[in-house]
């Protein structure tokens, strides 16, 4: 069939293929959409249906919106991010911005398929954008090689929808907080134009979840903080080049050094239950840890790490990113009612999905607009407030900085992130609130990496 195929037939077959959205025309394509390109998508936008969203109106305007106007931000260009970008581009989205602070590591190549060995060392966002823009005609992906915290309010406000493929709860909470800060209420009524929907996907081995967050209307990340299990998975890129914890050192030895040195004979696999094996890993981990001035590598930790790491697999990322992209599509086009609002997926035993409506928390620190109260005795020490901020399940702050407005100015009561200030304010931790001059009804301003906005807490003294 290939040889001697008429050019016209060939052209039509090519159109068919491109309409699938899967083929590419070899690189530089012309700027106009070819006929049939969006046939699959159009069927959902130009036809009425019995299950469409009540606001849906069939016609050409939805596709036009996708192709020319809709601006989507993809946060993360890793395992989920690559899938998200592909899915969105092949669903009609064109103005896609992507932000990622990482560079490509060789360990990424087994699932982050927009990257090739020659790209190792380059920023993920930039390579992803290049790949998509050169292969999918008319796609305009804009990359940002930045941390999400580097971008300001005006950056995030420009998007219609934001979708995350992050590996960090802190980052999720941060972007959640940012979007909550945009909410505008007039006479107690939420202004819908201040809402930017957030679709959040996460994976861990064979498990994954997707949530649709409509700020001010559905549960947000903070509302359901208790849902997040303690994180015990480590990205390979961290292990290979940027270790921060003793666990990362151990993983490095297990994954890279062991196969390289084959200490118990060629082809002998690491047995997490063999004490001699663990001892070897432990010693080498100590060596690696000392290279990076990391403390805490113990025998026990070594064994714990060796048996508990959950690596990432392409199939789970594919599933979760697909669900996310479908939701982005639904919200952008009103084609269907979006997921309300949390889906979990697990394919260890068969395939299992479960969707439920996560509930808003009445006094959520991020989205409830209610002041946060702390009931405490005036003779309690500041340390107690610090402990509360870090240990409370609904707050889970990392290194909060506490300031109070006193005597007409702002007094920093305690701050950890700058060594000199930490030293200066440390004695305050052992002082009582009364000694520090705090009064009943006092407002404390708390800043932390988990939130872009300063959080206000009101002190209510108990007797």
């Amino acid at each position: 069939m290939a040889d001697g195929e008429e050019p016209e037939k060939k052209r039509r077959r090519l159109e068919e293929l491109l309409a699938d959205g899967m083929a590419v025309d070899g690189g530089c394509g012309d700027s106009a959409d070819w006929e049939g390109r969006w046939n699959h998508v159009k069927k959902f936008l130009e036809r009425s249906g019995p299950f469409t969203h009540p606001d849906f109106e069939p016609g050409t305007q939805a596709l036009d919106f996708l192709l020319s106007t809709c601006k989507v931000l993809v946060i993360g260009a890793g395992g989920l991010g690559c899938e998200l970008l592909k899915n969105l581009a092949l669903s009609g989205f064109r103005q896609i911005h992507v932000i990622d602070m990482d560079t490509i590591d060789v360990s990424n190549l087994n699932r982050q398929f927009l990257f090739r060995p020659k790209d190792v060392g380059r920023p993920k966002a930039e390579v992803a954008a290049e790949f998509l823009n050169s292969r999918i005609p008319n796609c305009a992906v804009v990359p940002y090689f930045k941390k999400i915290q580097d971008m300001d309010e005006s950056f995030y406000r420009q998007f219609h929808i934001i979708v995350c493929g992050l590996d960090s709860i802190i980052a999720r909470r941060w972007i959640n907080g940012m979007l909550m800060s945009f909410l505008h209420y007039e006479d107690g009524v939420l202004d819908p134009s201040s809402i930017i929907p957030l679709i959040d996907g996460g994976t861990e081995g064979f498990k994954g979840n997707v949530r649709v967050i409509i700020p001010g209307m559905t549960a947000c990340v903070e509302c359901t903080l208790a849902l997040y299990p303690p994180q015990v998975n480590f990205p390979m890129c961290t292990i290979a080049s940027m270790p921060r914890l003793p666990e990362h050192c151990i993983e490095y030895v297990r994954i890279l050094q062991w196969p390289k040195e084959q200490p118990f004979g060629e082809g002998t696999a690491l047995d997490g239950d063999d004490p001699e094996h663990i001892q070897w890993i432990y010693q080498k981990s100590l060596e690696r840890a000392s290279q990076f001035n990391i403390k805490g590598v113990t025998y026990r930790l070594t064994q714990g790490v060796v048996k508990r790491i959950i690596p990432a697999v392409a199939s789970t990322n594919a599933v979760i990113a697909a669900v996310c992209a479908t939701e982005v599509f639904k919200i952008a086009t009103s084609a269907y009612v979006p997921l309300n609002n949390y889906l979990v997926f697990n394919d260890v035993d068969g395939l299992y999905t479960y969707s439920f409506e996560a509930e808003r928390k009445e006094n959520c620190p991020a989205c409830s607009q209610l002041p946060q109260n702390i009931e405490i005795s005036p003779s309690a020490k500041l340390q107690e407030i610090l402990d509360y901020l870090t240990n409370n399940a609904s707050l889970q702050m990392k290194s909060p900085a506490i300031t109070a407005t006193m005597y007409g100015g702002n007094k920093t009561l305690y701050l950890q992130t700058v060594a000199s200030i930490e030293e200066r304010t440390r004695p305050n931790l052992s002082k009582t609130l009364k000694e520090l001059g705090l009064v009943d009804g006092q407002e404390l301003a708390v800043a932390d990496v988990t939130t872009p906005q300063t959080m206000l807490f009101k002190l209510h003294f108990t007797t």
């Binding site: 899967m22 697999v313 999905t353």
Partner: protein, 520 residues
Amino acid sequence: MFQEKEVCACIWCKVGENEMSGKLLFGKLWGDHGQEALESAHVCVINATATGTEILKNLVLPGIGAFTIVDGNRVSGEDVGNNFFLQKSHIGQSPEKLLDNDPSFFNRFNLVVATQLPESTLLRLAEVLWNSNTPLLICRTYGLVGYMRVVIKEHTVVESHPDNMLEDLRLDKPFPELTEHVQDYDLEHMDKKDHSHTPWIVIVAKYLTKWFNEKSEQLPKSYKEKEAFKELIRQGILKNENGTPEDEENFEEAIKNVNTALNRTEVPRGIEELFNDDCCLKLTEQSSSFWILVRALKEFVANEGQGSLPVRGTIPDMIADSSKFIKLQNVYREKAKKDIAAVGSHAAKLLQSLGKAPESISERELKLFCSNAAFLRLVRCRSLAEEHSPNSCSKDAIISHMDNPDSEIVLYLMLRAVNRFYKQHGRYPGVYNYQVEDDIGKLKSCLTGFLQEHGLSVVVKDDYVHEFCRYGAAEPHAVAAFMGGAAAQEVIKVITGQFVIFNNTFIYSGMSQTSATFLL
């Protein structure tokens, strides 16, 4: 055309040049042996549309050895390692032609994935593969609906990796070596450091003895008894000069673990079922090592095991100094080794009686089997023919599911209806806008005909007929991507023999973001 499809399939996945071997990256997911199985596998994917290529991408990325694409009029072979190879003798063959002229073509594969195929071709293909015992995975994207059907006569799983695995500590039935080891501890006369670093397993065992002497001959079972037992342990925490309890984390661990540590050691029901399965009872020369080992396991349980499976040999991490922990760990490990040897000896006798070489079951295989003895799984699928024949279709199951008229089963019924439409009209409903309205009526009669023929007295809402016409057999990328991930992982499960496949029909609805598995 061939060119584009080839590029199509490979656009997302040129990982041949990857420097990091799959074993390093996936060793933790499915082990080196799993990765080896994946890297030696050769899979056939029929139709490289969005669905097919997404499945391929998700197989190529983790390192599948080779894949062959059969598409329309083309057959193309791809060796992901380094070379592209073409099976020239098959160029110009569609799957239908291959079934006509050379059905044995499909025997070379570890598994065939069939996407976006008409029902008639599927039935033919399924028959060929059923007879040659080649696993088949059918996968389809239709509008916002995803569908998968796995067709494997028998699939056994040793490493099912269950999510919530209870430890095998034998505290209710301690083996002699464990009892001996525990006896060596004298909690009353240890120095503080040793006391605080004694493993909780030893503590529970010690206090069980105390419990038997002082309170009851029976294990603590009820909530009240367990609480009393916990209190007994709590009394054992060292106190300082003032009488306040010291901070002994290992004792806290012991108390926390009482709830699960005293569970009865017994052979799970699923394993008993395996013991009673014909394949175990009637071993032949053709029996797989799985069934031979099941039989050996059964004989172990009846003899050396004294009613229990071999000791697993692993213990959870716990607060203890290295030396104490390692010593205790070794007690379990040594016992496990003994039990494995006993199972192995039964296996050797069975192999001999079957006229098979003793090496046909490796030490490694034996070890893996024994440590997973409590988690063995068996999946047997009904053939596609059985599902489709009105005499043997799962009438009752379908009718019962349709008690909820919006159950995902209705999407399955609609897919069967559109298949019938295709058979009658040579096309799918609603592909072009002008067809949608008229096709609704036509599709409805196809549906009615199908339901009647199969004795399915159910009512399908008209909305679903309308929706399926609306889909116009579209293959939206996001749904193809979902199915691509789902299907690829099932393929990996079959090839690695790890984790458990679904049985036997999976439906995904992108509209409601729900899914369901049906046994049809």
